[in-house]
Structures are given as C-alpha cells and as structure tokens.
C-alpha cells in the first residue's frame, strides 16, 4: 500500500524543486540594486508613523472569531443543498435543527454583548 | 440450629462499630460499655465454639474445617466466601477474642483522646483479624489480611508517642510490599490451578493440589536458571508472612512501632496481629507449597534462629524497658517460626501452642510496663529500682509473667518451647542448640529486668509510688492465671490442635493424612515428622 503514495511523494518533490529552483534562478540571474527606499515597509512611499507593534482592540479578535465560526458552519449548507431533494423532509428538519442551534449561538453571543463595539 | 456462627463472629464487632457512630461522643460510659460488651460477646461466642468444636461435624478432605460456610462471592473468578475453623485457627481465634476484650477493657480504664474513634477502630481490627483466621478462600484471606492494615494504620497513626508517624508508615509500607508479593503468588497459583483443573477457584481446599510448574524458571536472553515457579510463589507468601512475624532481616519496623504504640493497642497488636504471620505460614504456605517449603526450610529455620538470638541480644542491650519487651517479643516470635519450619508435628504443635502462650505473656508484660511507666514516669531501666516494696502486687504479677516469659517449667510457655525444641532437634540438633542459647539469654535479660526494676533500694523516681489498683489487678489476674493454668495443664490446647497439626504436617510433606487423633502435644516423637 505504501507504493500508492508514490505519486504524492513525486508531487511533493516536484513542488519543492520548483519552488527552490525559481528562487535560485532569481537570485542568480536577477539584477541587484539595493537602496534605502527599498527597505521601507511600504514600497509605495507612505512613511510609517509609529511602531507596528501596538495593541489592537480585542473586539477585532472577537469579531473575527465569531465571523469564522458562523462562516464555516454555514458552509455546511452547501453540500446539504446539493442533496436536499434526496433527503426530503428529513433533511429539511435536520437542517432546521442545525440552523436553530446556530441561531441560539447567535442569540447567546448577542445577549452577552460580544457584538457591541465599545 | 443453623446459625452461621462464624459470620456472626465476623459481623458482631463490625455492627458494634457501626452502632458506635450513632452514640454522641460525650456519652463516654456508653461508648466504653458498648465496646467491652461487644468484644466480650464475641469472645463468649468464640470460646463456646472452640469448646464445642470437637463434637461438631467437620468437612472432609485433607484439612478438617468445622462450622464451614461457603457462599458465592465473585463467581466470575470463582472467589467464594468460605470460612471455617480448625484446630489451629480455633486456639488463635480464642486468643484473638481474648486480647480484644483486654484491649477494650484497657481503653475503658483510662481517658482516651477521641474515644469513639479508638473503639471503632479496635472493633474493626477485631473483625479483620478474625477474618484472617477464619478465611479458607485465599482471596477472602487476602482481603482481610490487607484490610487489617486500615484500622491498624489509623490506630497506630493516631495514638501513641510522637514518633508514631514514621514507625507506622514504615510498618505499613513493609507489610504492603510483602502482601503485594503474596498477591502475585496467589494469582499465579490461581491461574496454574485454573489451567490444570479447568475450574477457577481461590479456595484453599481446592488449590492444595498445587498446579504450579516445578520446572526451574529460566530468565530469557541471559539464560540464568532460577527457582521454579512454585518456589517463587512460595517466596512471595514467605515474604509477606516473614515481614508480619517478623523474621530478622524484615524486623526493623517492630521495635520502633512497639515503642511508640499505646498499651491498649499493643495488647492486641503484639498479642495477636504479629502472630497472624506465623498462623498464615502454617495455614497457607506449608500446605500449598510442600516441595518449596522443604527446599527452603533450612534457610527459614536459620532466619528463625537468628531472630531468636538477635532479639535476645538486642533485649540485653536496651535500657528502655518497653524496648526490652519488644525485642524479647522478636526473640519469642523467632521461636514460633522455628517451630513452624521444623515441619514436624512437634515443632508445629509447639508453634501453635506458643502463639497462644506468647500472646498472653506479651500482653501481660506490656500492661505491666505501662503501669510502671505511668507510676514512675520513666521507662529507663537504670532509673527504676526497688518497686518490690512499693508495689508488692505488681511484683507478684511481674514475677509470674517473667518466669513464663523465660520458659520456666510449670509455666505455659514451657510446653510450647519444649515442643518446639523437640521439633528443632528432629530437624537438626544444631538448631536446637542455638535456640537453647536463646532461652539462656532470655533468662538473663528477663531476670535482670525483673530484678533491676523490683529489687534494690528505691530510686528517686520510685520512692513514692503506690501499688496497682484492684481494677488493674483484675485485668492482670486472668492473664497470670492462664499462664499458670496452661503451664500445669497444657492438655486442652494440644487436644484441640492435634488433628489439624497432623493434617498440616502431612500436607507439608506432600501427602494428605486423616490419621486418627492419638497424639498429645507432649507425647512421643511422631515418625511422620522426620525430614
């Protein structure tokens, strides 16, 4: 069975070789003209005004996390939609339960104030 | 009349312990009365059972058990609740009942800290030790054997002098290590028997046939040939019992513990619990592993002799009178062990008799030491002298106990020690000679102790003490009376034990015997006993 994985190994090797090869070619043949302006964080010319290491409001993280949770869970609707005809009523009820659980989660998050921005 | 008397004996103290919990802790008199009553009732039942045992029916087979009860317990592994009484356990059970009555009376004579706890633990211990003596099923036996440690642990850890913590943990860890080795042996035996016979059982009477391989075990890879599985299993049992007795390399827990424990615990701890190791040797190790026993008897008998002499020498070198008694106990337990490993009727019979005798003597000695300590405030031999004039009654009791302790003819331990010496001589004269040396040393330290404490002009500490109270005398009187009575009439003990001892001896030599009961403890040398 191990031999079944041979294509994957080959694929992996090709990927590594290609990536490394491109890098190597660029560093060998590419022209090199370093200057101070090129080392700036924004090459388009905007001058950074303060350190990038400052704290962000925790609300960003909470919002991002909540977005990911609800986003990922709603992806589940897609495979369901493809076979909803086969599943008939049963499928609709099942998805109803699922959506209800998500909804309860949303209510909980809302009531706890996680969606408030201040 | 189908009362399961042995179960009653087991449950009575347990029920009393439970009953104690509903009595308020301030009702001191009630607590004491209940404890004494329960132990006394158990003793009455046990003594009646022992007295009427001869006439009661007994089980067939290589070991005759009276009052047997067999019930299913854990059918999946064939464990049963099988209890029974035979000649060997009967006397020790009688002793068991006695020492607990004594313990209960002693605790009721003084104000004990947390009395309810003490009484409850005492009663629990009695259930456990009685269980050890009555179990015929090995798993049940192990349950009681190990379970005994729980109340003992709390008793020893809670009561006694300030060194008790270390001493107790040492004792428990030693004992548990030995017991666990025994558990492996029990399991090996169980599976070997299961494979050989096709049925699972922990019952001693079923396991007697053995089943463990007698082929030497070879350690793989290194190719070292070791003992046979049977011998290994025997060593597991031997480790557990030798620690409990204790025999010399395993004895280090004993002096510290005896020194730190209070007298109400010591009467049953020294009087009985340490004897259970000896009893279990006779009951289980000898009967289950005849071949291994015969292989190792030389070593074990040698350890016993070392214990006798080492204990005696240590007793000689002590100043603390409690430690003297503790080491004398070690020496006497060596005697009992020696009797067992002679593997002949005289030796084993002597050992059984001596278990009972020594239980009585050591209880009396510890009570006397405690009285002396209470009155004078010291246990140092050098600070004690001249108590004879201040305490004439104690003098008399102490004298009898001393003489009994050194094996004076006419005292109870003479019969036992003589029988053991006889058996030891049959094993090999050298053992008897060395054990005899132990007797000589015992005379030395016991008489020196008695004379030193009792004679000579009083010291400052012993100047103003009064004699024992009548109640204390009433506690000591039956003990001293028994020492004299059993010394003059050693017959009763031997009569009860003889059949069982013969059966056990026969099993220890690898064959079952139901020979007729025409043997007395001091009778002629039995030909079956020759190695």
């Amino acid at each position: 069975m191990l031999s079944d994985f041979a294509p994957i190994l080959v694929f992996l090797a090709v990927c590594v070789a290609f990536g490394a090869g491109v890098q190597a070619l660029a560093s060998w043949f590419g022209p090199r003209r370093p200057s101070a302006a090129k080392d700036l964080p924004y090459e388009c010319g905007i001058v950074p005004v303060e350190s990038a290491r400052r704290r962000f409001s925790v609300s960003f993280y909470v919002t991002a996390m909540l977005f990911i949770i609800f986003d990922v869970e709603s992806i589940f609707l897609l495979p369901w939609a493809t076979i909803v005809r086969q599943l008939k009523v049963f499928g609709v009820v099942e998805m109803g339960v699922f959506i209800a659980a998500l909804l309860i989660g949303l209510i909980y998050v809302w009531a706890k104030g996680a969606l408030r921005w201040d | 009349m189908n009362v399961p008397w042995l179960t009653v004996v087991l449950l009575l103290p347990l029920a009393a312990a439970a009953l104690l919990q509903v009595i308020p802790r301030t009702a001191v008199t009630l607590l004491k009365a209940l404890t004494v009553t329960a132990t006394a009732a158990a003793a009455a039942i046990v003594w009646t059972l022992v007295a009427t045992m001869g006439g009661s029916p007994h089980s067939a087979g290589p070991l005759s058990f009276h009052y047997s009860e067999i019930h299913q317990w854990i059918p999946v592994i064939g464990a049963t609740y099988h209890v029974g009484l035979d000649g060997i356990s009967a006397w020790i059970l009688a002793l068991n009942a006695g020492v607990f009555v004594l313990g209960a009376i002693l605790v009721s004579r003084r104000s004990t800290d947390r009395l309810k706890l003490f009484c409850g633990l005492l009663l629990l211990t009695e259930t456990m030790t009685a269980g050890v003596l009555l179990s015929v099923d090995l798993l049940l036996f192990y349950l009681f054997w190990e379970g005994m440690l729980i109340p003992l642990y709390f008793l020893l850890a809670n009561y006694g002098n300030e060194n008790r913590g270390r001493a107790t943990v040492k004792f428990i860890v030693y004992t548990v290590a030995g017991s666990l080795l025994m558990l492996v042996s029990i399991l090996s035996l169980f599976f070997a028997h299961g494979v050989a016979s096709g049925n699972l059982s922990f019952d001693l009477t079923q396991l007697l046939g053995g089943g463990l391989s007698k082929q030497p075990l070879v350690i793989p890879w290194v190719n070292i040939t070791t003992f046979t599985p049977e011998q290994w299993a025997f060593l597991g049992f031997a480790a557990a019992f030798a620690i409990k007795i204790p025999l010399v390399p395993f004895h280090t827990w004993l002096p510290d513990l005896y020194e730190s424990a209070p007298v109400a615990v010591l009467v049953f701890f020294a009087g009985l619990v340490s004897k259970l190791g000896a009893y279990s040797f006779i009951r289980f190790a000898l009967t289950l592993f005849p071949d291994a026993v015969n292989t190792f008897k030389w070593v074990l008998a040698a350890l016993a002799v070392v214990s006798i002499i080492y204990g005696a020498l240590m007793a000689l070198s002590q100043r603390d009178i409690k430690r003297i008694v503790a080491y004398s106990s070690l020496s006497h337990l060596g005697f009992i062990a020696l009797g067992i490993f002679t593997l002949n009727v005289n030796g084993i019979n002597g050992a059984v008799i001596q278990i009972v005798n020594h239980g009585i003597i050591i209880a009396a000695l510890f009570i006397i030491v405690d009285i002396i300590e209470q009155r004078t405030g010291t246990r140092d031999r050098h600070e004690l002298a001249g108590l004879e004039r201040r305490m004439p009654w104690l003098y008399a009791f102490f004298l009898v106990a001393t003489l009994a302790g050194l094996g004076m003819p006419g005292m109870n331990s003479f019969a036992g020690e003589f029988s053991i010496m006889l058996g030891a001589f049959q094993l090999h004269p050298a053992y008897a000679v060395l054990a005899g040396l132990g007797v000589v040393l015992a005379c030395w330290y016991m008489l020196r102790l008695h004379q030193g404490v009792m004679h000579d002009p009083p010291q400052p500490r012993t100047e103003a003490v009064g004699d024992i109270r009548p109640a204390q005398g009433l506690v000591l009187l039956p003990l001293v009376g028994l020492m004299v009575f059993l010394g003059v009439f050693p017959g009763p003990v031997g009569d009860v034990t003889q059949l069982s001892v013969k059966q056990t001896t026969a099993l220890a030599h690898g064959y079952a015997s139901t020979a007729g009961p025409n043997f007395s403890g001091l009778g002629p040398v039995s030909p079956g006993g020759q190695p």
């Binding site: 994985f5 493809t82 309860i104 | 709390f154 850890a157 666990l180």
Partner: protein
C-alpha cells in the same frame, strides 16, 4: 445528477437511529437550554442552573439505563459512525454519575471563589457530551470530533478563574499541548485512513485482517501517532507533563471533573480502538511494545514524582498518571478479563478520585483550596467524617481492601498474570508499594494534631450537597470493594457487548 452520485453515503433514514444517541442528545439539549437559561437568570439565582444541569444529567442517565436493556444486541448506528453497545453505555454511566457528583459540589465552590457564571454548567455538559460521544465513537472522525468537543470545553473551564495567573497558565498549557495532541491524533488518523481506506473502526479492522500477512510501516506510524494523541488525554507518561500544572491551576471543581471523566472517556476510546480494532496479532505484537513501555513509564513516573510533591492537587495529578499506567495494563493485555478489569478499574478510579478531589473542593475556603500539606494538618480533629472519607479514598487509590481500588488493581494484575505478562504485573505491584508512601503521608497529616502556635487552615463548613457527594463516593468505594459483583457483572456484560462488526 452526477454530483449526487458521488455522495450516496448521505442517503437518509435506514442507517440513522436517534435512539442510539439518545443520552448524548439529551445532554446536548441540556447544554443548549442551559446557555439560554443563563441569559435570563439573575446572578444570585445561578444555583438553579446547577439543578437544571443535574436534571439533564439524570435524564441522560435514565436514557443510558434504558438503552442498556435495549442494546442487548449491540449494533452500530449512523452508518457505523457510532457504536450502540453496552461498552459505551457503561462508560456513559460512569461519566454521567461523575458529572452529577461534580455538579453537586460546584455551586458552593464557585460562589466562594466569586466565579459563579452560568457558562460553567453549559460547558460541563458540553464536555460530558463530547466524552460520551468518544466512548461510543465507531469512526475515527467521531473520535476526533468528540475529543475536540470535550477539549475545547475543558480549555475554557480550566481557565475559568480568569483573574488567577495559575488558572490562566493551566488553560494556556492545556490548550497548547492539547492542540499538539490533536495534531498527532489527526495525523495518525490520516495515515490509518490512507492505508486502509476507511475511517470506520469495524471496516479498518476488516481491512487489516484482509491485508494479508504484511504490515505497512505507515499504518504502524499512524497507529503510533493515534496512540500518542490519546495518551495525551489519559495523561500517560511521557505525555503527562501538562497534568500536574493543569490540575493544580484549574478551579478544583473542574479538576475533579476532568481528572476523572476525560480519562474514562479516552480510555474507552483507547480500548475500543486498540484492543478491539487493532487486536490483529500481526499489528498487536508491534503496538504492544509501545503501550507496554508507556504503561510502565506511567506507573513509575507517576508514583515516584508524587513522592516529592507538597501540593495535594499535584499529588493526585501524579497519582492519576500512575493510575492511568495501571489501566493501560488492561489495554496491553488482550484478554476479555483485561477489558472488564479495566472497566472495573475506571469505575473505581472515578469514585475514589472524585471523592478525593471533592474533599479538596468542599473544604476550600474563600482564599485558597485545601491544597498544601500544611492545610491538611489536623483535619481529622475538626472534621472527623471528612477526614475519614478522605482516608478511605486514599486507601482505595492505594489499592487497599476492602475498597474498590483493591479489586480494580486485583483484576488488572490478575489479567496480566493470566496472560503470562508477569513482568507487567510485577511493575504494577512494585510501584503500588511505592504509592502507599504518599497516600499514607497525606492520611497521616490529617490525623496529626496541629501545634497550638501553628496557624490552622480555615476549613469551610460542609454543605448538604457536599456532604452528600462525600457520603455517596465513600459508600461507593466500600460497596465496590465488598459486594464486587454488583458492578463487576455490569462490567463483564459491557465487555461482552462491545460492538465488533458493523
């Protein structure tokens, strides 16, 4: 229509059997209801949330009992994803009883600590749901999902005391190492799937049997990684490093819960996957070596490290590692007796360990837990019954008869000796003798009279529910140590009922 042809597995009803998941469904329902109730409950009334959660647990327990009789013939439900058998139900019962006991001691403890938030109960039920799913998991996917469900809930719970740095540290450590473990687990599953082409345990077993006498190294690597992932959850050495810190840092009621239930559930999965799916002699001979040494390492590391601790929670943490080692003996040995021995062990461990941690929880005062050795000193003089119960639990953990712990060890060692694994039993016995030291030292401390000048720990009063939990666990410890057959017969029946074929 071609798209639909790719997904025939999702075809509706025949393989779906909601009854097979009834206890889990009830508990999950309780979880959602509690989350909603928390929104409308005033802070002072949060004790009622505990009542509701106990009711949910009781309902799930009732369902479990009903299922027990219903599942006389074991089967799998949801297309083999979940096993509906007495093995899983036995584990369910242990988890539910443990959860109920934990819930009973919780409100008082949380109130004292000022941590009484409603999410606690929802999270406990969520974790318990995950554990029950793990106990019945019949597919690698369900195992993974169940482990994640229980782990995420426990990550939050172990950091529940947010203002306490120790609690934060515990949550962080648990999260990071738990994440690692999940990675191992998932990688192992991927390899196993790659080799056998299945995620269902029964089909994997069949594929291995039909594989013909060769063993692929990748399959073995997958099995090894799977074992590592589960070993993290049972905190077996050398994957145990998080255990003492997390046990110490987490709120004690949470430690009580996770020290028992996580282990029970993970062991259920371990036994189901290893003893029954990978039981094929060819691969058994290989993974046996790994588990063998992990078992010995756990027994040695747990017991030896516990000797040097001065914190009761850490001692119990290390003791838990050692106990895990003993139960692993039952996994290494492939006999039925080893399996029911392990089940008995899990039940007895649950009772005694919950009892021991409950003592710490119940006695905790406003400022700190009953955790240091100094705080134990003299407990027996002020709280004789609590101390006696604690003594009993410690004796059970140490394996003294007549307590449950003795028979637990006895059955496991017996199984090892019966299967000619004497060295394993000897390791167990040697380390048990060592363990007596620290169990007894704790016992001794409780019965040592404190010096008059010593500052005495301010033990809390035992509430009715707290005392009830201690009484129940103490009684259970004794009953399982004397009337062994009561639980043993159920455990044997659970072993007999394990699902082997789809």
């Amino acid at each position: 229509m071609t798209v639909l042809g790719v997904l025939p597995v999702l075809a509706p009803p025949p393989g779906i059997d909601i009854l097979g998941l009834l206890p889990e469904v009830i508990l999950a329902g309780g979880f959602i209801v509690l989350m909603m109730l928390d929104l409308v409950t005033a802070p002072a009334q949060r004790g009622w949330l505990a009542v509701v959660s106990v009711v949910a647990v009781a309902g799930a327990f009732g369902a479990t009992v009903w299922c027990w009789f219903d599942a006389a013939t074991p089967r799998t439900v949801y297309f083999g994803a979940f096993a509906y058998d007495r093995f899983g139900l036995f584990i369910n019962a242990i988890i539910l009883v443990s959860t109920a006991l934990v819930l009973m001691i919780t409100p008082q403890y949380l109130n004292r600590r000022g941590l009484h938030y409603g999410e606690y109960y929802a999270l406990i039920l969520g974790a318990a749901t995950g554990m029950m799913l793990l106990a019945g998991a019949g597919s690698l996917m369900v195992i993974f999902l169940a482990i994640e469900l229980l782990s995420i809930a426990l990550y939050i719970l172990s950091g529940f005391n947010r203002t306490e740095p120790r609690s934060q540290e515990a949550a962080m450590k648990y999260l990071l190492l738990g994440g690692f473990a999940s990675g191992f687990l998932l990688f192992g599953m991927a390899l196993i799937y790659g080799e056998t082409g299945h995620t269902q345990l029964t089909l994997i077993a069949a594929a291995i049997t039909n594989g013909g006498g060769t063993v692929d190294p990748l399959l073995m690597a997958g099995i090894a990684l799977l074992f590592v992932g589960l070993a993290f959850k049972i905190s077996a050495a050398p994957f145990h490093t998080w255990t003492p810190d997390v046990y110490q840092g987490a709120p004690t009621s949470v430690t009580t819960f996770m020290s028992v239930t996580t282990k029970v559930a993970a062991f259920a999965a371990l036994i189901r996957v290893f003893s029954y799916t990978f039981g094929e002699p060819l691969i058994y001979d290989r993974w046996k070596i790994i588990v063998y040494f992990v078992a010995i390492a756990s027994m040695v590391v747990g017991n030896v490290a516990a000797l040097r601790q001065t914190s009761l929670k850490r001692v119990l943490g290390y003791s838990g590692i050692a106990q895990g080692g003993y139960i692993l003996i039952g996994v290494v040995v492939l006999t039925p007796a080893a399996t029911w021995g392990s089940l008995y062990y899990l039940a007895s461990y649950a009772v005694a360990n919950i009892g021991a941690f409950a003592v710490i929880t119940v006695m905790a005062n406003r400022g700190e837990d009953l955790d240091s050795y100094a705080s134990l000193r003299g407990l027996a003089f002020r709280r004789p019954y609590v101390a006696a119960a604690m003594g009993l639990f410690l004796l059970s953990l140490g394996g003294f008869p007549p307590t449950a712990g003795f028979f637990a060890k006895f059955f496991v060692f017996a199984a090892a000796i019966g299967a000619h694994e004497l060295p394993l039993a000897l390791w167990g016995i040697g380390t048990s003798a060592v363990s007596v030291f620290y169990y007894l030292r704790v016992g001794l401390l409780m019965y040592t009279r404190p010096q008059p000048d010593e500052p005495s720990y301010n033990w809390s009063r035992t509430s009715l529910s707290g005392g009830g939990v201690l009484a129940l666990t103490a009684a259970g410890t004794l009953v399982m140590g004397i009337f062994v057959t009561l639980v043993l017969n159920i455990a044997v029946s659970a072993q007999n009922g394990i699902v082997l074929h789809g």
